[in-house]
């Protein structure tokens, strides 16, 4: 058992089956599909409330998704913790400023990488709420329910993602 927990990597199929089973637990125990992106909306609203006060709660979107710590915010906090546990046990936990693949293409400057990550994050956060879900909410939980909206969204996530990565890395040109 401990041997397994200490491994750097597991088979992607084993990991996938495990995530599928976790989805079933979410449906069974919480009557919810697993999703991550509304947690960022709620957190963003909570941060804005610090600066602008309760006026934030009047925004139409926050009346729909109240800026409070809910199930999904706890789920995202759990992901941070779970990944920390996994990487700490395997010895893979290490502070990394610039991923290797990025450094190969754009150099090792952390400011460039962090600026790009910020801009990418803005588009990701905007797009996730625009599409009503992310790679987990639509990509896994929605597609497994055979929801039409989720299949369309996940195809567009990857079309946009593949195109952007190909342009950035000059692949296939």
């Amino acid at each position: 058992m401990l041997e397994y927990l200490k491994m750097d990597l597991w088979s992607p199929y084993l990991v996938g089956v495990g995530i599928g089973v976790l989805n079933l637990f979410a449906f069974l125990l919480s009557d919810k599909p697993i999703g991550c992106s509304t947690a960022y909306s709620r957190t963003s609203g909570m941060i804005e409330r610090v600066f602008r006060g309760s006026k934030v709660d009047e925004k139409a979107y926050y009346r729909k998704f109240e800026p409070v710590v809910d199930w999904e915010v706890m789920l995202v906090a759990g992901i941070v913790l779970g990944s920390f546990l996994s990487s700490a046990i395997s010895g893979e936990f290490r502070p990394e400023l610039v991923p290797a693949l990025w450094a190969d293409q754009f150099g090792p400057d952390p400011v460039t990488r962090i600026a790009a990550a910020f801009v990418g994050g803005v588009l990701l956060g905007l797009g996730a709420r625009w599409a009503g879900g992310c790679t987990s909410g639509h990509g896994i939980s929605g597609t497994l329910q055979l929801a039409a909206s989720s299949w369309l969204a996940v195809i567009c996530f990857f079309l946009g993602g593949v195109a952007t990565a190909m342009i950035l890395f000059g692949a296939g040109v």
Binding site: S30, Y61, A117, T135, G139
Partner: protein, 185 residues
């Protein structure tokens, strides 16, 4: 018993936390909390992300429809439209390619020590989600409702028994996985 657990507002956040811990642990062990692996997928060079997602979808699809046949779970399909699902999906995709993480895997990246995820990415996502809340009333009137098709599932659209869709979908995903392995990707 399940109903009282589901409506217990004190216990539910803890259930969410534990499911999250399991999710984060698995994502990290799968290698999909790494920028290099996610961008490798988007460059169509490393199919780890697809393998993880497809096997999760196969497992969950069979399981959820079985549990539903037994009356133990309800489905919660999201509503969609071309203006929201497709257009929003492409905006998400552009961010996905540039950031190299998604909202779930970035939380895992933070947990394993990726500073670019924590400092750049998470800040960006929060800012982007804030922008959406700001422009939501405008978008709602204009693009979000373009080409609405509701929260329909494929079995509903086809008017078929769910297994008539689940079985072919599972077979297609399995065939894709076999093909990817055959190609050595």
């Amino acid at each position: 018993m399940l109903d009282s657990l589901r409506s217990n507002e004190r216990v539910q956040p803890i259930v969410g936390l534990f499911i999250g811990i399991g999710f984060g642990f698995l994502l990290q062990k799968g290698g999909v909390t790494r920028y290099d692996v996610i961008v490798g997928q988007l460059l169509l060079e490393d199919f780890t992300v697809f393998k993880v997602m497809a096997s999760a979808v196969i497992t969950g699809m069979i399981g959820v429809h079985l549990l539903r046949s037994l009356g133990m779970v309800r489905l919660h399909p999201k509503p969609g439209s071309w203006g929201s699902s497709a257009l929003g999906g492409l905006v998400f995709g552009a961010g996905f390619g540039l950031l190299g993480y998604c909202p779930g895997t970035i939380a895992g990246a933070v947990g394993q020590g990726s500073v670019d995820a924590l400092v750049g990415g998470v800040g960006g996502i929060l800012f982007g989600a804030g922008i959406f809340a700001e422009i939501y009333p405008k978008l709602e009137e204009t693009v979000l409702k373009r080409g609405e098709f509701g929260d329909a599932t494929f079995p509903e659209i086809l008017g078929a028994n769910c297994w008539m869709v689940v079985i072919p979908a599972v077979l297609i995903l399995l065939a894709l996985l076999f093909w990817i392995e055959e190609m050595g990707l």
